[in-house]
Point group: C2
Chain length 396, copies 2
């Protein structure tokens, strides 16, 4: 079969390949981005399913509109307004098949072959793959603790033709766990507007948050017409139902609806109604508060284990929310090689290499802490720390 | 915002725009392709939901593999083997978010900008939109009662550069309701192989069938490595859950998995398990038998009303299955204009124009008969027939 040219750029996601191995119960896996399944509100979701099928069964199993189920769109608009001070209505919301599909739809909307996409370094690797399927060219902007370094961004924009899009995850970034400063968001939006470049503000991780407060997203600023924001129920409720959304100007949503029509007609009607019913019958804030309580302990256990078992010159982020810690090990360590040995000892993580569009730092790795208890985190980190110490000793 | 070039080719699906109007209960709508909601096995689906959430709740709400839930893939492979004589395993099946997504994924796999796609005339309009999003160039092949006319196909292949794909719906075609002959399928596959062109054999309508028997699909022939087949639970169970699939060579499925990873990570875990549970606890064949009984009466009522109320020189297909009848009215009638007047009288249909890639026949229309009872079909057809008679009288 003669494939399209884009297939040359597509490679398997190391994480999803890894997940096949790490599903085995004997593996302590820091690799995925799985929420804690034991915290899923299973009984409440079962009650929601039953209620929807009993009261609106025909509607729930039938085709519905491409835009999404109206009351769910209204609910999301209202919640965004309450959280980030926007004035959205349902017209600003498109329901998507998870926030990964949001990236695919926006990619289709914006990217011509050879258009340039600027992203953080490191960044979410499955976003890179989306942009590659549209044959975009991805360039990385250097980052510090506050977000993209504006001089590097300005420089790239001034010297690069056909920049179409800036892709950022300003809160609890995947993979780094970092959060942007408010000032940096203001600067980046101002620069993007000056160059007439759109921004995807990918925001699937804003909740749960363990400390600190959300500073306003770029999408909520004045003159944010070029900002497209994504969200998801995956991290606050459950990922298996694949319900996310895009928030954008109504005119942009109209275009995205056309794209979604041809892409998959619509999202799952039942899943949308099931989530809406859950939200009517339960407090999502109470549920998120439960997640915060558990995840905070796990984050703290992971941080404490890094301090106990890892080399003293290890650098790591201290995330105020989200699911990930990012580590820079001593430069002698290549984490892709480390991973093979680590799997032999039944501990998994993701080496940092896959998260870079251009120049990987080979001594980096991403740790997920959300899906196991503190004892297991401690046990896994002890093994990993021991392995790193052995590696360093061997290299001396 | 600066959109990608592909947006210039994308227009709203007339059908989905229409559906917004035709949802109103006072409209008799032959427009959509909705299955009969009153036949959805709601109680059985509720029982399946409850069982899945009770017994495997954590798994059902969690991330799962891109390929799809394994036992469902196995079930589909086995059913295909029983129905069409293939020797598939789960490795040949990718679960998709409805068969519309199957077209999107295959489009991404194959189509470069300016590649040519050959399709039937008329054909499924949302397939045309998919191919347009990948900036493919669509050419139509003339058809008769047996399928594509092979001399026209050969001629196009011999004279057109960069033909990548032939898109066909050989059984109960949308919009025409036609079914291809076995011989025509053999000829088209032989020609496609000779020119090294892939075939999408889109097969969401094979069941329910009211009379006659399925002749083997191209996918089941020897030397069918270049054939990619799609299927769906939308017409035999319910469309709201958006579960379809692609059957193909394992090597092709592997490539499609890469694409689906970046497109939306995976299909809804819960919906897949819910359907699998339904299939374990119930006989899908018994359910399809119920559909056949009801839909056959509706088809017959629609055909009988055409004969009673429509002009004598109306041509129409007599579908052995599926959801659609295709009509060619006397040449004086423009069905797009007719539709406006028809909506004033609270009857909806889809004018044929939207189903042509190149040269529309303006006197054609598509009637769906699956989603209302015989009395309503008769009432709607009487109104429509009366309107057509008035139009013809006025034009004399």
């Amino acid at each position: 079969m003669r494939y399209a040219d884009r297939m040359e750029n597509l490679t398997a996601s190391e994480i999803r390949e890894l997940l096949k191995v790490t599903n085995r119960p004997e593996i302590i896996s820091f690799a995925g981005g799985l929420p804690a399944a034991e915290l899923f509100p299973i009984e409440e979701m079962a009650a929601a399913s039953t209620a929807v099928l009993k009261n609106q069964g025909e509607q729930a199993l039938q085709y519905s509109t491409t835009e999404g189920v109206f009351p769910l769109r209204e609910w999301i608009a209202q919640r965004e307004n309450n959280r980030i001070g926007t004035q959205l209505t349902a017209e600003n919301i498109l329901i998507t098949h998870g926030s990964q599909q949001a990236l695919d739809l926006v990619g289709k909307l914006l990217i011509n072959k050879s258009d340039v996409i600027l992203c953080e370094s490191p960044t979410y690797l499955s976003a890179l793959n989306v942009f590659k399927t549209f044959e975009g060219k991805i360039l990385e902007v250097q980052t510090d603790q506050e977000g993209m370094i504006v001089s590097d961004l300005e420089n790239l924009l001034a010297t690069t033709a056909d920049v179409k899009l800036i892709y950022v995850i300003p809160t609890f970034q995947n993979p780094s766990g970092k959060t942007w400063s408010l000032e940096r968001k203001q600067q980046v939006l101002e620069i993007a507007n000056r160059y007439d470049v759109a921004i995807i503000e990918d925001a699937p991780y804003e909740e749960p948050r363990y400390s600190g407060e959300l500073t306003p997203p770029m999408f909520s600023f004045p003159k944010a017409e070029n900002v497209i924001r994504t969200g998801s129920f995956s991290k606050v409720l459950c990922p298996g139902l694949r319900i996310g959304w895009i928030s954008a100007d109504a005119a942009v949503i109209e275009k995205l609806v056309l794209i979604k029509q041809s892409t998959d007609l619509q999202s799952n009607t039942f899943a949308q109604m099931q989530i809406f019913q859950f939200l009517q019958a339960n407090s999502i804030d109470d549920h998120i508060a439960k997640l915060v309580k558990t995840y905070r302990l796990r984050r703290d256990a992971a941080i404490s284990a890094i301090e106990t078992y890892f080399p003293k010159n290890t650098q790591y982020t201290y995330p105020e929310g989200g699911l990930f810690i990012w580590l820079e090990l001593p430069e002698e360590i290549n984490t892709t090689e480390l991973l093979e040995k680590s799997l032999d000892r039944k501990v998994a993580f993701v080496s940092g290499e896959s998260f870079y569009a251009e120049n990987p730092k080979l001594n980096t790795l991403r740790l997920n802490f959300s899906c196991m208890d503190e004892a297991r985190i401690e046990a896994g980190m002890k093994i990993l720390g021991g392995l790193i110490a052995e590696e360093l000793a061997m290299q001396k």
